[in-house]
Assembly symmetry: C2
DNA sequence: CCGGAAGCGTAGCCGGTGCTACGCTTGCAC
DNA sequence: GTGCAAGCGTAGCACCGGCTACGCTTCCGG
């Protein structure tokens, strides 16, 4: 996977980060829920994200349109191969950011919350540096 | 200013961060541009954010509705007292995050871009820790 | 086997944030 | 003073991602 070119304009990059954010968080959550209870239901996602099942429904439809998940009426939501790959990548990056915040001395609860937003704005360079920092602690 | 209660759910917090993000970035940009060239024009903001002047127009209207900026047709955009206060706070936080990334060893260009997104997801606790880290370097 | 609770789907609403197309206003060069 | 380029405003479009209201499906306990 080639590293996508970074826009010169920082706001353009941030908007791009946000455009992919929900997809990353959803596939990660689906993977988590599958691991924990065998299957992922719309209701599980609604609880996870603090939104109604209606919002989840339409988000899942978009993800299906984009080839990241599969779902049928009244059936669980599953990841496609592409979705699984994205989930793996997203979890890895999320974990690096979380462990970095903890290594820095941030409390568990705050680190958990902050990492959820920060993870999407960390470039490859910064991610490597965070990883090194955590390892060196 | 009392510290607003942090939601239990990390995604709820992240959504809240995003809801205030554009306002923070706009007032900060308006303040920057005023400092640099005396007045802030719609076109300046369009260039700064990498969007069309139409998008800026409607965003500025919302900011005016919310009491953060003042503007009249064909006139510069100015900050209200509330807008100026928000700009000051936002700049301070932005600067702490940027200096932290630099202290961590991230290159200038990457730090500039990453900080633009990260700044909105850093809680007070994490901000303090970042500040201490930077000072201790 | 069946009734009710939980889960799910859909219609229709809203605000936000991007765009193109098009025409008006302003200010400067000449 | 005029004309033109840059700036600006507005209409109208699209997609995203929240919501309530309402009705259908599933599945489990008795
Ligand atoms: Mn995540
Ligand atoms: Mn996240
Ligand atoms: Mn920003
Ligand atoms: Mn963000």
């Amino acid at each position: 996977m080639p590293v996508s070119k970074q826009p010169r304009n920082q706001h353009v990059r941030t908007r791009r980060d946000h455009a992919t954010e929900l997809a990353e968080d959803y596939v990660e959550a689906i993977d988590d829920i599958e691991r924990e209870k065998g299957e992922c239901r719309v209701t599980d996602l609604a609880r996870q994200f603090g939104v109604t099942h209606v919002t989840v429904n339409r988000t899942v439809s978009r993800l299906q349109r984009d080839g990241l998940v599969e779902t049928q009426p009244y059936a669980p939501v599953t990841l496609t191969r592409r979705g699984q790959r994205l989930a793996d990548q997203s979890r890895k990056r999320h974990e690096v950011v979380l462990q970095f915040l903890l290594a820095l001395g941030v409390s568990e609860e705050t680190a958990r919350v902050d990492a959820e937003g920060i993870e999407h704005h960390v470039s490859d360079e910064t991610l490597r540096i965070m990883q090194q920092f955590t390892a060196s602690q």
